[in-house]
């Protein structure tokens, strides 16, 4: 079963919720936690572990053999990213930073061997064993690379190749297709938000995306005692459901900075009870 923790706005507590749920669920189930926040992956820090078993993620990039090129310009016309320019003498020239690696240039080229395979490094994936019942798969974008989507997909593929009772995805902030790729096919989507106008606004954006994906959202309101601002209107409008409110608690902050999830550091705390309740809700739909 696939569960996703997301939220639109950054810094609302997605990774805190995801790592605590992963630990709590792993008491009974085999869990693969997938850190799909490839631009800034932090789940391993919250679990105090080093990333292991690195694999590189490459994207295709065209390499031209001008001796075979007939200057037909089909590749230039078909490049949707406008990454190919007409160079002196009419040969195509690649602007590497614009290339999406889609391979369309090679697919439309009528000359065998005129566009060859080259590749560029865009990111990394890792597979780290946390305990007997919990594994962490992490995607990490190469610094300076713009496109996070291929690394999200690579992490997703690596995670889904591991058999487990639960695949728990922790997404990036935002609402683009790199977030959609992490969310799709989830049985349960947990959106983490906070009671500020910014939190409400960004919750609506992620709920719009979930509507497009035809998925129902559970809402967790983190730092719920920060203000009186209510999410009720948005939650009702998108037919979502508030399943938990997490007030500000010292235990959460202390566990966050010490790299031990609160459900382990303070198993009897109110915070741990809240996570146990979310686990119960998840079990109801398993």
């Amino acid at each position: 079963m696939k569960i996703t923790v997301t939220g639109g706005k950054g810094g609302t507590g997605k990774s805190t919720v995801a790592t605590n749920l992963a630990i709590a669920l792993s008491k009974k189930y085999h869990v693969v936690l997938v850190d799909a926040d490839v631009e800034c992956p932090d789940d391993h820090i919250l679990l105090s572990t080093n990333l292991e078993n690195e694999e590189k993620v490459y994207l295709f990039k065209p390499k031209f053999d001008y001796s075979k090129c007939t200057k037909c310009e089909l590749c230039i016309e078909n490049c949707s990213e406008n990454a190919l320019l007409k160079f002196k003498e009419g040969y195509p020239l690649l602007m590497p930073s614009l290339c999406s690696g889609c391979r369309t240039c090679q697919l439309v080229c009528p000359e065998e061997g005129a566009i060859l395979d080259d590749r560029r490094l865009v990111g990394y994936t890792y597979h780290t064993k946390i305990n007997d019942n919990l594994e962490l798969v992490t995607g990490k974008l190469e610094e300076g690379e713009e496109r996070s989507y291929p690394t999200v997909l690579a992490a997703r593929r690596r995670a889904m190749s591991i058999s487990a009772d639960i695949h728990l995805f922790d997404t990036m902030p935002g609402t683009g297709n790199h977030v959609a790729a992490a969310i799709e096919d989830s049985r349960v989507v947990i959106t983490v938000t906070e009671p500020t106008p910014l939190g409400v606004h960004d919750l609506e954006m992620i709920l719009k995306l979930l509507k497009k994906l035809n998925l129902k959202a559970w809402v967790v309101i983190n730092r719920s005692d920060l203000s009186e601002i209510s999410h009720d209107e948005i939650v009702e409008k998108y037919n979502a459901e508030i399943i938990a409110e997490i007030p500000m608690m010292d235990e959460i902050m202390k566990s966050y900075v010490s790299g031990i999830p609160v459900v382990e550091m303070y198993p009897d705390s109110r915070a741990s009870q809240i996570f146990a309740n979310i686990v119960k809700r998840i079990e109801e739909v398993m």
Partner: protein, 290 residues
């Protein structure tokens, strides 16, 4: 002068700092760019109620498979976005993943079965706040390349500078280090990196700092929520080891969430609060750059 506020990690206080800096530096005629098209929030800090201008940006492409598809499945293997699936005996496109690259059309054996059409990538909006012009963008959910919207926003702000409507630009970047942040940093003069004193924030700060070095942009550090993690010196160590000057330590204070709820910049909502006083000191440093 173009200054970018970035952080790597989300929710560390970029928009709060940006809103207050622009408020304090009002006399310097600053154009504000909200460069987080996937979670735009700066207009909420300035309580923008009405946009002066709003336009759709059609910069994306999407694929469509029509009924002449023979369901051969050849397109499955070329889609690097994994956006093609089969339902009811037909290949279909997940529009929330597709980037319209045309690889599927290139291999399709049926002429005309797959069309590539331009689609809406999002919206650009402009407002005049009492502190100067603001440009904001919103990505249509599930679309690619929010960085293109950010580039478009920055072009608008640069035009304001050319036309004399503003003298400087402050860019409130998105979380992360992807296309939106790269578009934000591209061509900027200085970057203010905001971090909170936690190991996660430090890790993300190092990634954002790496980007500023990649683009050779001078970076400064502001520690927000200073004091929430007593005894932690990771950010100070980072500053020393990389020669990144700390230009402010903003203490955690209840006035910050209250100012967010009131939809007013912090320095206006609680001008005498400890965080507002520290932001005023940061503004004085930034003033020296302008």
């Amino acid at each position: 002068m173009e200054i970018v506020i970035a952080s790597g990690k989300g929710g560390v206080g970029k928009s709060t700092l940006t809103g207050s800096l622009i408020t304090l530096l009002k006399d310097y005629e600053i154009a504000a760019v909200d460069a987080d098209a996937e979670a735009p929030n700066l207009h909420l800090i300035f309580n923008v109620e009405r946009w002066k201008e709003e336009r759709e940006v059609i910069a994306a492409h999407s694929a469509r498979i029509n009924e002449s598809c023979i369901n051969c499945g050849i397109c499955d293997n070329v889609c690097i976005y994994e956006a093609i699936y089969e339902a009811d005996g037909q290949r279909k496109i997940k529009e929330y993943l597709c980037e319209g690259c045309g690889a599927c059309r290139a291999v399709c054996p049926v002429e005309g079965a797959i069309e590539i059409f331009p689609s809406v990538s999002g919206w650009i909006r402009i407002a005049n706040t009492s502190y100067g012009p603001l440009v904001s963008a919103e990505l249509d959910v599930g679309k690619p390349n929010s960085g293109k919207l950010v580039t478009e926003e920055k072009n608008i702000a640069k035009n304001w500078v050319k036309e004399g409507r503003a003298k400087h630009v402050i860019v409130d970047a998105a979380a992360g280090i992807g296309c939106q942040v790269i578009a934000s940093l591209s061509g900027a003069n200085k970057a203010i990196l905001v971090a909170e004193p936690t190991p996660s924030s430090l890790s993300d700060l190092m990634r954002a700092y790496g980007l500023t070095q990649h683009f050779r942009i001078e970076a400064f550090l502001v520690i927000n929520k200073y004091g929430i993690n007593p005894g932690y010196d990771g950010l100070e160590r980072f500053s020393r080891e990389n020669g990144v000057e700390i230009i402010g330590r903003i203490p955690y204070h209840s006035s910050v969430p209250k100012s967010l709820a009131s939809m007013k910049p912090l320095v206006e909502f609680a001008p005498d609060s400890p965080p507002a006083k520290e932001i005023k000191k940061i503004a004085e440093i930034v003033e020296g750059w302008l």
